[in-house]
């Protein structure tokens, strides 16, 4: 099992030539019937879903080139997933810390929103994995204002 986990770690992109799963960062939970190892991506997906469920969260990720939030990972074919955008986790044997990068809807009370996100993320991770969530750090990097979407089509001056 790897030890140190940095925010810029390179995610495992699948099996290597030895097929060793021990090179991914995993947790090992001891139950009476066997040992369970959980890959980071599992915790990330659970955290991502729990965060996106909260009304007022417009989306996760898109935080402009921040390597810590998977911007690099998403550009690797087959290596990224929309479900883990904006989510980074640090996973230990019994605990995990979660970093989220979010865009909120305009008009939302951000203090209440982040409280709700933390509640839901902690509850989902602890239910599914029994890992203790030590912290949920949230960066609000943008506000989504309707009718001023940059994704609305713009007439180009040139063809």
């Amino acid at each position: 099992m790897t030890s140190a986990v940095s925010a810029n770690k390179t995610p495992a992109l699948g099996s290597d030539s030895t097929g060793s799963a021990l090179e991914t960062t995993e947790t090992v939970l001891v139950t009476t019937h066997g040992k369970t190892s959980i890959a980071d991506v599992v915790v990330e997906k659970i955290a991502g879903l729990a965060a996106r469920e909260i009304t007022g969260v417009y989306k996760l990720g898109g935080g402009g080139g921040s390597r810590a939030f998977g911007a690099i990972r998403e550009k690797i074919p087959g290596g990224g997933s929309g479900l883990t955008a904006g989510v980074e986790v640090e996973v230990g044997a019994r605990q995990t810390a979660v970093d989220l990068d979010i865009v909120v809807e305009y008009g939302v009370e951000i203090g209440e929103l982040t409280k709700a996100i933390r509640r839901n993320v902690i509850s989902a991770i602890e239910r599914m994995t029994t890992l203790e969530v030590t912290e949920v750090n949230i960066v609000v990097h943008d506000v989504h204002v309707p009718n001023q979407d940059s994704d609305e089509p713009v007439d180009s001056r040139v063809e």
Partner: protein, 103 residues
């Protein structure tokens, strides 16, 4: 591939793979690791004399420790005393499109 008293033969590996894949909490075997046999591989299974490692993609339903318990119960007979290590390599979230699982 040498056989051994614990029976890490093709039949053993295939049996384990079949049981794991049919477990309700398991979406599919994971390609994170595999067993190598003459002419083919069995994804998601690695056996040894004293331990069996299974690599799965879980469903988003029961707690993952429950998946391990289900697998331990289903595999009890074929394990023949070997320790079970369950590796949750990925999880299928509600509405997520499942890509080609373990090839």
């Amino acid at each position: 591939m040498p056989t051994d008293p614990a029976g890490s033969s093709a039949a053993d590996i295939d049996a384990i793979g079949g049981i794991v894949a049919s477990c309700p909490g398991v979406a599919s075997l994971s390609a994170a690791a595999r067993s190598y046999l003459p002419g083919r591989t069995v994804p998601g299974v690695s056996v040894d004399t004293d331990r069996v490692d299974v690599f799965v993609v879980a469903q988003y339903q029961d707690p993952l420790t429950r998946v391990t318990e289900q697998l331990a119960e289903a595999l009890a007979e074929v394990l023949a005393g070997r320790a079970l290590y369950v590796h949750i390599e990925d999880i299928v979230m509600p509405g997520e499109q499942v890509l080609d699982p373990a090839g």
